[in-house]
Symmetry: C2
Subunit: 253 residues, 2 copies
Amino acid sequence: MKRKVKEVADLVGISVRTLHHYDEIGLLSPEESTESGYRLYSEDDLELLQQILFFRELDFPLKKIKEVINSPSFDRQEALRLHRKMLLEKRRRIEQMVKTIDKTLQHMKGEIQMTDEEKFEVFKEKLINDNEQKYGEEIREKYGDDTAAASNAKLRGMSQEDYQSMTNLEKEILSLLQKAYTTGDPASDLAQEVAAKHKAWLMYSWSSYSKEAHVGLAEMYVADERFAAYYDKSVKGGAKFLRDAILIYLGMN
Amino acid sequence: MKRKVKEVADLVGISVRTLHHYDEIGLLSPEESTESGYRLYSEDDLELLQQILFFRELDFPLKKIKEVINSPSFDRQEALRLHRKMLLEKRRRIEQMVKTIDKTLQHMKGEIQMTDEEKFEVFKEKLINDNEQKYGEEIREKYGDDTAAASNAKLRGMSQEDYQSMTNLEKEILSLLQKAYTTGDPASDLAQEVAAKHKAWLMYSWSSYSKEAHVGLAEMYVADERFAAYYDKSVKGGAKFLRDAILIYLGMN
DNA sequence: CATTGACTCTAACGTTACGTTATGGTTTAT
DNA sequence: ATAAACCATAACGTAACGTTAGAGTCAATG
């Protein structure tokens, strides 16, 4: 019972073109053909095809398959073992690539965090300006003209170590804020600790400290969506909670 | 400090052709070139090349690299994650292939074992012949002319079930032989059990049984290296031990 | 019986990322 | 000035088919 290309192709799930190709390169040439040139595959041809497809499944190049198929003397076991080795090598390389990608992604996240921090730095600059705009007069009245400028300068001129301490403190505040928030009470010890540390954190960048400025900043945290987002990132509603805690801490509620 | 192709190629460890190729497909066209048409790569070109090679290391197709490189808006992270996924899929497929190869190798070993058994079948055939040659006259004297031929016929005509029982018994004998051998005594109960089962095993293929033939076979186990190898495979010295056990069992020592 | 739809054939270009000549001009050291 | 080293473009080769394209074949249907 001889079969034509399509039948064979459908039978084993490959394309007609593939059969043509195998014929072209002499890998599998059907024993017989009709007078009109149609390829006719015998059962034996099918068996051979199965063999071929088996090795193909294993990613053997057709040339190798041809060798393996054509000479039974060819050591199939050795060929398989060799191929296996090759595959393991490939796998190793892929794993290496995945590792590299993971590292890169980590790195990129890191850079994005850096970028976020840089953005926040910009916020802080802006904060100083805003601060000045809103409370500038007041500050100037109380502490003289240079204070506002000094604040700015202090932040810019901060040493690397101080900067480190400051950012660490910043992290601590965010983490504490989370815990404090679970108490639900801005007057709780934890919340008050956060407010205190927030003051300490401010001292790093502010040349002078005033309750009014602190409150103003706290209000800004809620009003300015960028700051709100920053604190809400840690806890939803964190900005408001922090403001309330600060208000209580400063006795201005 | 502009560099010419070879210099760049050597610098980053790729071929000149590769640089030509990247120029051809518009992946990396040096900013400048001499009036005589020599490509001149700037530092910026080198940086770009590094990027390209990074993605190439990860098996990104050049087309993708071009996309990633040319539009910074293109989400590198997403591209990497996607690629990572692809690599994992590749790895999965490779692992599947390795598994298949392992199974196949197992199978092939199995077939070789089968082949070994078939070989042993041939041995048995030969055994019958040998048996006849050595003890033929004797057997013929005692049991008539047809006995030898009948033995042969019986083996060949054995039912599938009988054959199964026989080979199972064969395995049991080999396993028992191991245990018995540890006693070191061919007269031990265990060794005698082996001898008894060996007799039973013989009955499967022999049309008639005689002590003499059994002894003759036992001697052949030691004398014929092929049989010796077969029994020694299970225990070193197994052939001799089995013979001694049989001799004792038959009371012919 | 002719038409139609389903198949079949050969031929040839396209794909990927360069390697490998081949042919000829340019630069540089001797 | 000449050779060695380097540069350029052009074009074929590789692996395993996919994809038209043009044309012939076969079986069933109107």
